[in-house]
Symmetry: C2
């Protein structure tokens, strides 16, 4: 089920792959970023599940969210926990690896092996840290496109993902219309709102306020801004859940005690839970990557302003399934509806569903009942059409 | 308009008042806190506006929110900015100082002169810091009641406030039913929700993560956890505004530039605004006070569990005006409606209004159009009844 189980074709064999799960893009040639900076060589780490068919027509690109990575459908090598979309990807599952070839890359700027601030800058032999150029969702997609090129796939059957993964799905369909047959952006937006930016800025400031961040150079100094990163994660985590989900899960229940203690210990379960979320996160995520990826999301604006959103989707050829969740207050349904509206105005084939869920933004990861049925059916029927 | 302009009665003159704006409660006797700790002597700093009438029947207690203080209706001595409710309090204003005597204390645990972690612990001669006992909304109200005793007022005509001020209004009406003629809790809740607690915990963790916090002892070490406190303020500030307010105010507008810079500078106005909110806050607020007051709010549960909320209001005699704002997602309207519902179930006289506003929780401070009319009318008509 891992990359090592892919039946590599001769064309793939020509590509430099480190440990079967990494690829140097475009033969090491630099990639021009949205910022104008040339970055190279660019490596993407990725996992695949299932097998590419002979026609190379069954490839699905699964794009991860801010703190996700390429280990979507297998136990995570650091945490040992099931992959973040293991409910969705696998044999007989909605993204059925008996039928589809699933590719899940770690985004550029990430910290699980793809070129990013934690990796070595060849010019200095040191980690990039803040010398790494600021990247965008467009740059992530540009790198993924080079990966798809290298895998010899002319057209992806589908691109999908939730949250930042959904942004990538949108950017793919807009930037490479001939390369995407279907797209499923979930719990996402065509642009980051002021409130989205605000929450991310709090996280960045929490990291930068940590003296162990040392202007980003902590890796070479043997330090780690884990306290700042934990605070950033805690603040973000609240935004991933609905108020109702927090209430149902924790309410005002006390943690391992029968009465409040009149102290600053974690009296309430929700406090204990958040502290746990913060402290475990720092074991698997890099603080500088958190800065770069949140910034890429904040910069995301598919239309570079509302007036040009229509222009951005003018060339789109993919058919869409757009999904939002009614309790998601981070990317509220109206933001998905804006996407649907502009796509329909260009007569793009769009199915839209707002799903009822109490889980808030995290619903795309955890509340997979209705989502499962929707994605399964949409992919299956669309695949029948695609293979004709 | 300040405390020094109050016509002090002989009874007041017998009370020790420092600089006309501070009072040592109960002659310096200790106050038994909800935690069981005896704290004393307890000082409250307070400001008053208007004059107490001969019948002592025109007193209104205005309770401040988390980061508010006693300077409700005059320029703030530290920031120089207008008082936080200067739109509501003054001659001819809804809380009309030509008619009412307005008392605004700094809460116990605060940092503007009332006994709190920044003040000197008489046992050590050093600031209390974390030796200060954890206080509750009930303790704040207990101290305010001693202030009202000292001012010779048997019954407050009204108690009102927004957010934590509203919690105090609720606690007053419940704890001292004979001492409150009318109560106006605004944008508040009968208990802190799981999400409320979660956001506060993030703020506390941000402060405690700052090495300059030094376990709370920063004052004696000449340090200040200003970075942590600024992050706490930034996170909290987002929760005070609605998404729509942020969108209308900032959208994705850039700060003093025509294009994004591909860097970690504050490209967007909302980032710059939040940083400003954080950095100015630390000039006027004490980090330990932030810990204590947020904890007091988190502990707030008027009924000690839903089943006993009815019991908590059983003895209430005040008539109520309850106000919520439809865009307030920190204390959503349903929380005010729970208050209204339980009060009505005890046949308490309650008027409830959910006001339309785009400002979110901050509406009680800034969107004073409808609130002004409501409070003005309710107070005026109720006062006519009271003086009968």
């Amino acid at each position: 089920m891992t990359a090592s189980s892919i039946p590599l074709t001769p064309r793939l064999a020509a590509v430099e792959i480190a440990a079967g799960e990494k690829i140097v893009l475009a033969g090491g040639a630099p990639m021009r970023l949205d910022s104008g900076v040339d970055l190279g060589p660019v490596t993407l780490a990725y996992q695949t599940y299932g097998a590419l068919n002979a026609a190379r027509s069954n490839a699905i690109l699964v794009c991860h969210a801010l703190t996700g990575d390429q280990f979507a459908a297998e136990d995570h090598p650091v945490t040992g926990r099931p992959g973040w979309w293991s409910t969705m990807i696998g044999p007989g599952k909605p993204i059925d690896t008996d039928r589809y070839f699933v590719i899940c890359p770690n985004v550029i700027g990430g910290c699980m092996g793809s070129t990013g601030p934690r990796e070595i800058n060849p010019a200095t032999g040191q980690p990039w840290a803040l010398d790494f150029p600021v990247i965008t969702i467009g740059d992530m997609v540009r790198a993924e496109k080079l990966l798809i090129d290298a895998l010899g796939i002319d057209q992806l059957f589908a691109v999908l993902g939730g949250s930042m993964g959904g942004m990538q799905a949108l950017a793919w369909a807009s930037a490479y219309p001939e390369r995407v047959f279907a797209a499923i952006p979930i719990a996402t937006a065509a642009k980051h709102s002021s409130q989205n930016i605000a929450f991310h800025e709090v996280g960045r400031q929490a990291i930068m306020a940590d003296p162990d961040w040392t202007g980003g150079a902590y890796l070479t100094q043997g330090r780690n801004p884990s306290r700042g990163l934990a605070v950033a994660r805690m603040a973000a985590h609240i935004t991933y859940l609905s108020e109702a989900a927090l209430h149902r899960k924790f309410g005002r229940n006390l943690q391992d005690r029968s009465a409040i203690t009149y102290g600053f210990d974690a009296d309430f379960q929700v406090e204990s839970y958040l502290r746990h979320q913060g402290s475990t996160f720092v074991d698997r995520f890099d603080a500088n990557s958190y800065l770069y990826i949140t910034k890429a999301m904040d910069y995301f604006d598919l239309g570079n302003g509302d007036d040009s959103l229509a222009a951005a989707v003018e060339r789109v050829r993919a058919r869409f399934l757009v999904i939002s969740f009614d309790s998601d207050w981070l990317y509220p349904s109206y933001q998905s509806q804006e996407i649907v509206s502009v796509l329909r105005s260009r007569n793009v084939d769009v199915a839209y569903c707002e799903l009822a869920s109490n889980y808030g933004h995290d619903a795309f990861l955890v509340d997979t009942g209705q989502q499962t049925a929707l994605v399964r059916g949409f992919l299956a029927r669309t695949y029948e059409k695609a293979v004709g």
